[in-house]
Amino acid sequence: MALLEIRDLDVGFDTPEGEVHAVNRLNFSIEAGVILGLVGESGSGKTQSVMGILGLLAENGHVSGQALFKGEDLLQMNASELNQHRGTEIAMIFQDPMTSLNPYLRLDRQMIEVVMHHRGMKKAAAIAKAIAMLRAVNIPDPERIIRQYPHELSGGMRQKVMVAMGLLSEPELLIADEPTAALDVTVKVQITHLMSTLREKTNAAIILISHDLGMVAGICDRMLVMYAGEAVECGSVEQIYYDPKHPYTQGLLNSVPRLDRPDDSGLEAIPGNPPNLLSLPVGCKFRDRCPKAFDACSEKPPMQVDEDKHAYRCFLGAPS
């Protein structure tokens, strides 16, 4: 049974200008020990879908559908039931460590809070575990660092602390939202190594939200590409990088600058801008920017799946 199964997830926001459809009928599942990359640009809905699943939406947001975690629907739970899962079996690492860590609390207090509350650990044991975890994320001198405040650390260190906090409760599912966004290349490498190691040691599943296609290629097993709130392509990493079927995926891969391509080749850009989520077009949402669009695209395209479980939402290649 899949560890997490998402069915027909819809996330919307009520704004003075109207209803913003952030996520439309999203379906995917993830098994234990699998690292899934959730890829898309701003407005694709990748962060909001996860926030919706975990009940972390803003006040004007609403979510519907099913989010089955080990068979139980997270969306049907109230706050206290959700809390039993959040922080213990499901952990989330946010993008900006500056705002995710409480600047007024020392690190030791913040780190052991969850573990003591949920697993009922005693303070001394919790601190020892936290120190061990800090060491595991390659933070030098953890006994001293743990007694400091967030602002005393560099950005890279703070993010490593966030990762350590996420791993502290030994989650079965780790959700990392752009964990390396503002970090230097060398720190990025360290963090991705950590996540790999976690998966090897504990068979945890990881959902990695990112727009960094290089990082996703290095660490993920499967990938889901999102555009304007919908999944447009899903498959193993090899399938998607070597045989992308959806024009958006193809355009995205072509527009990424790569060190291994000849120097003078221009970057191929996808023209235009992502659609306005207040007024989504009918039919295929990528139509206006698609070099291969044709008449049928004014209808909603079907999700095609081939034998290797490589799925994409497009009319191209569909049996007519």
């Binding site: 003075p16 221009g266 191929e268 850009a269 023209p271 070099p291």
Partner: protein, 305 residues
Amino acid sequence: MTKEADQSVVDPFAAALEVIDVKGRSPWEDAWHRLLKNRAAVYSSFIMAAMFLMVVFGPMLISWEPDFTDWDYTSSPPSLASGHWFGTDAVGRDILVRTLTGGRISLMVGLVATLVSLVIGVSYGATAGYFGGTADRIMMRIVDIIYALPFMFFIILLMVVFGRHILLIFVAIGAINWLDMARIVRGQTLSLKNTEFVEAAKACGVSDWDIIRRHITPNLLGVVIVYVTLTIPQVILVESFLSFLGLGVQEPMSSWGALVSDGAQDMESAPWTLIVPSVFLTVTLYCFNYIGDGLRDALDPKDHF
């Protein structure tokens, strides 16, 4: 698709649409629309508008003079029969007309004193914030020192030394209130100074004066407007307090504070003498506060100044 294709798609459109320029929607317009959606602020504005009209034109329409003592009806409760709709005070003066003329004074003090503090506060704060360095440090220390002075004591001193001239009250209150305005404007100027669009202007060689005029001031307006709207009730309250203490405007002029003070003395025998001016005062304070809050939400700082 490369940029070439992009351009060839854009060009014919551009040519066709060249004649029709799209109208932009400035951040002010957005704020205005947001404000209109705030019902408390909108209602308050209507009430305040009505209040202004009443205060300015009311006394002209009422047959009683504010200092006319009607010996037939001293301390009489509100009644339609007597012609004194809101009753009279101990000396027989019509409460309604006194409240309205008192309102003129209170509102005028509110507006003028706020204007004084606005002018002083904004120029002081913007200068300190923009030029920074030692000038800023010195200017702000001065503000700190003045802030530490017990200002009530100060005003009372001024009143005692210079007499209770109404102009003095305006200036005295304004001169105290500018401190907050200066601090807020300075803070905002500081953060504006470090924005990238100001840096861009500097990189283009735009003069300091033009930067202040074009970039700093328009972006200060939002904060200043909100603060002004919230200062007016503060100032009215200060004046009322002074009048309550007997240090405000002199007879025969009256303000809401003075009326409340008088009314408090007759509270048990003639409660309407206290209630009527109090209600007017309170409603005004509430309305300005709602409007100020509404403005602050509409000009939401989250939306870039």
